[in-house]
Every structure is written in structure tokens, then in C-alpha cells.
Amino acid sequence: MTQAILKIDGITRSFADHEVLKGVNLEVFPGQHVGIIGNNGQGKTTLMKILLGLLKPDSGSIIIQGETADFPRKTEQKRIFGYMPEAMSFYPNLSGRKTLQFFAGLKSLDKKSVDTVLEQVELAYAADEKVKTYSKGMKQRLGLAQALLGNPKLLLLDEPTNGLDPNGIRDFYFTLSKLQQQGVAILMASHLLAEMEPHLDVLAMLKDGEFKRTGGLQQLTETTRLKSIIRFTASKGKRYEQFVVNGEKIPASFDEYTHRYEILCSKHSKKDILNRLIEQVDDLDSLTISEPGLEELFHHIHES
């Protein structure tokens, strides 16, 4: 079996009387894209700092490639990580290239590695301009570029797509997917659920200092029994209040503003409800089915 590149084993951490992390466990394997999601104040930043070796946990351990990580972190263990912090502004008077040369120097890398990452994030065209002239999106790219220096085996990304335009977001995830194919593991914290949903292999939902749920999106939506939503409109203005399926009354809610009906249904009853709906609604105009996604799962877990 493949060895986990990172194993978080029972990490706890308190500040004064407040227990921020209460026994966090997670494994990240090569090529895996793991998303940490949670509201503000749930312990994401504390966990990131512990992973980077900037904070010492009260108990538990971080295991990097099978070896327990020391505090402070050994140089070899630091080289495995590439870290991109949230909303950073770098050194305003240095150019993008000089900034990357500085970080490359800290990892004892040559100048070629700087050109490579500049190409990877498509920032080569502005490499010699001062960072203070960069847009927010360009700074985010620069942040990703420095995280990619030295070919890290694990990328820790904190809100990495903040400030990127739609093309930038698409290119960003494209770059990540290429890295995944090369075996790079990605651990990413983000609030932008819809945007990250198609790219994640594993979700880890952080709430009250614990991972409340960990697993693939499909697996989690099934175990939490989230319902699909069937939406339809009828053209002749007839009103439908419910549909009887296998002796069970399934209500249909009508939105006066959009003139659209909504039916909540479980995975097993979905087919029967659809059949009944097509039979009964002779003025059916439009029909869509929304499967439960990351956003629904997130709200479900945080409200439960």
C-alpha cells in the first residue's frame, strides 16, 4: 500500500482556555487533492501553522513520509512542503523574479528553477516588474510560483484562488491537476466551495476543532443522506401540491416569484418521482435535477 506523505495523528492545541484543535486526524497520499473546509475560527489556520512547524501541538504528532516531524522542523522535512499563505503582499520593491530568486536561494536552488515556475504560473511576462505594480491575481500567481519552487511533494494552499479572475481560476486548477498527475499531494483550505468541488478527491470538514467528516464527496453525500432537488415549471398555470409515489405523499413547493416547483427526494425514490411527475404534469415546461454537492453537505454538517 502507498505510504501517506502526511499523517496528522491526534493533534490537539489550546490557546489559554480555548481548545482550538481537539484531536485532528487525517492522511494525505501522493497525488491526492484534499480540501479542508470550515467556517472562520474553526482551527484551519492553527492546523496550517502546526503542519508547517510554526506552532507546537499540545499532543499528537505530524508524520511526514513515515517519519515523525520534529519541532522545530528539520530542513529536509521543510523541503517536502510548498506553502502558499492567504493574501500575502510580498516585498513591494522587488520584482517578481527577484522575489522568486530570493526564495529559491533559501532552498539552495539555481536561477533556472525560477524561470520554470514563472512559466508554470504564466507570470514570465511580468517577471521583471516590481511586485507593487502587480494585481491581486498576479500576486496570487507569484504566491503559487514560490510554493512550486524545488518541486515539493506536498502543497499546502490557504485560500489560493482569492483574487483570481475566472480564467485565472481555471488555469490554477489546471496547473494543480498536472502536478497531481506527477504525484504531488495537495492540501487546500478554501471557502469557495462550488469552485473547489470538482477538483477534490477527499474532503475534510473542520468544525469545533475536529474533522467531523472525512471522505470523498459522493461517499459523504450518501452517508449523510442528502436529498436531490427536482425543479420544474408548468406552462398552463395549473397548481400541483403533491405527488403520491408508492403510497407516500411527496410535497411540491411552489415559488411565487420564480413560478418554479421544488421536490426534495432521496436517491432511491428519485426515479419513481420523476416517472409520476412526467405522467401527471401534462403542461411540463422545464425540468432540472440538482444532486447534493459540497455546499449542501457543508451546510448540512454545520447546521447539524
Binding site: 500575502m88 503582499s89 516585498y91 513591494p92 522587488l94 526564495f103 536561494g105
Partner: protein, 266 residues
């Protein structure tokens, strides 16, 4: 060693490129040129005075401005990294906290040296062309750099505390006011209040708490002859050169050690 140099290089480039250093150097140069060229103004004529007059006037400029320059260079060195979000990023790299501190210190001392060198180069050339000797000008440059270095190191240490930059700037300016402006006034007040009854030992010990005074005495003792000390009425009450050197070395190194210790607990 590479880590120290990488940080020092980055720090140096970042400051040199922001234009602030050049502006300070030019202002300093203008002041220094005016002092050099108008050194004899108080005698009723304009011209370059003798070595002693010019260098005494310039050293006054140095003692007011250079500590402030040192403090302004150092106060946001760590706080700035923290506020920009680059400190955590730096620490995620294969670099230790003391490499960051010492690397920054080296880079900032180089910035300070370049600023003072540029500020003093033109007045030096003017002074030399009027027959003055280079030795004392070089000594002035080195003493100025040492003075700035001490205040820069103090500010670097303050910068390791988790305070906002605005607060650190306020503390730095306060430190300058107390040690550079108010200290002498307070000292004179003390002498007057005690009707000059203070023993030489107490007077000497009071000077040890202020690195600016210590460096001024070192400059007087090494760059000028005994007549200047006599003219200032300081004979017998200022520390000897060896004691001054030891005290100034402690003032230069201790804040750096404290800064490295504070950062290691980050």
C-alpha cells in the same frame, strides 16, 4: 552561510530600490555640504574651516540624524514581514529564526553604510580639496555607521515584539527623543539641580546608559586632541577609550542577541 547572505541581499535590495534611502542620503549630503562650506559662518566669512571646526559641526549633525536613520531602518524589519504575511512563509523555508535576524541585520547595516557613504562623499571631497586629511573623514564615516548600527539593532530587537508597525514607529521616535534630544537636557538639569556636586564616577555611569553619548565621547577622544575635551569641560568625567569600546560593543551585540532569543520563541 548562504541563508544569511540571501536574507541580507534581499533586505539590501528591498531598501535600496524603494528610493527612501537615496532621498535620505541626498538630504544628509545637502546638510553636510552646507556645514562644510559654511563652516566658518560664525566668524563672519564663508569658507571651509579647519579640520576640527568642520568635523565638530558635522559630528553634531551625525548625532542628531543618524540614530533616527538607524531606528527608521530597523523598526519594521520583523513587524513588516509579519504584517505582510511573509514571516510565516519565510519560516516555512529551510531557514532558522536567527538566520533571518542576523541576515536582516547584515543587510540593514549595509544599507546604513551606503546611505552614510553617499551622504558624506561630497563633503569629504570638498574637505579634501581644501587640504583636510582623509583619515578623520573615514573615522567620521565609521563612527556614524557604528552609531546608526546601535540604534538600528535596538529597533530590530523592538521589531521582534508582536506590536503593530505604527506603535513601533512611535516607540522608536520616543527612544530617539529621549536618548538624543532629552538626555543632554536632563543631564544638565541634573547637574544644575545638584549644584554640580555629582561625583565623576556617577557622571561617568550615567553616560553608560546612553549609547549616543558613549559614541560621542569615543569620537571626541579618538578624532580630536585633548584640547577639545578641555574646551568642553569633560576632562576626568568621561570614560576611557577601552571602557567606551567595551560598552559600545555590548550596546551593539546585546539587542541582537535579545532579538534572536525573542524570535526563537516565535
Amino acid at each position: 552561510m548562504q541563508q544569511y547572505l540571501e536574507v541580507a541581499k534581499k533586505e539590501f535590495l528591498d531598501h535600496i530600490r524603494n528610493g527612501w534611502v537615496i532621498a535620505i542620503a541626498i538630504s544628509f549630503m545637502v546638510f553636510a555640504c552646507i556645514i562644510t562650506l559654511a563652516g566658518l559662518g560664525f566668524t563672519g566669512e564663508v569658507g571651509v574651516g579647519d579640520n576640527k571646526t568642520t568635523l565638530m559641526s558635522l559630528s553634531s549633525l551625525v548625532f542628531y540624524l543618524v540614530p533616527l536613520l538607524g531606528l527608521l531602518l530597523g523598526y519594521d524589519s520583523i513587524a513588516g514581514e509579519r504584517e505582510r504575511g511573509t514571516l510565516d512563509l519565510l519560516l516555512s523555508y529551510p531557514i532558522s529564526t536567527h538566520q533571518i535576524i542576523v541576515g536582516k541585520w547584515i543587510g540593514l547595516v549595509c544599507v546604513l553604510f551606503v546611505t552614510l557613504f553617499l551622504g558624506l562623499i561630497v563633503p569629504t571631497i570638498i574637505g579634501l580639496s581644501f587640504g583636510q586629511t582623509i583619515g578623520q573623514w573615514f573615522a567620521l564615516l565609521m563612527m556614524s555607521t557604528w552609531l546608526g548600527l546601535i540604534f538600528l539593532t535596538l529597533a530590530l530587537w523592538l521589531s521582534t515584539y508582536p506590536w503593530e508597525r505604527a506603535k513601533l514607529l512611535g516607540i522608536s521616535i520616543g527612544l530617539w527623543l529621549v536618548l538624543v534630544i532629552l538626555f543632554d537636557v536632563g543631564f544638565i538639569g541634573l547637574l544644575v539641580a545638584t549644584s554640580g556636586e555629582l561625583s565623576n564616577t556617577i557622571v561617568e555611569n550615567i553616560f553608560y546608559i546612553n549609547p549616543a553619548s558613549l559614541l560621542r565621547f569615543l569620537m571626541i577622544q579618538t578624532m580630536f586632541d585633548q584640547s577639545v575635551i578641555n574646551e568642553l569641560g569633560l576632562q576626568g568625567s568621561i570614560p576611557g577609550v577601552f571602557s567606551l569600546l567595551i560598552a559600545l560593543l555590548i550596546w551593539s551585540a546585546l539587542p541582537l542577541v535579545l532579538a534572536a532569543r525573542k524570535m526563537s520563541r516565535y
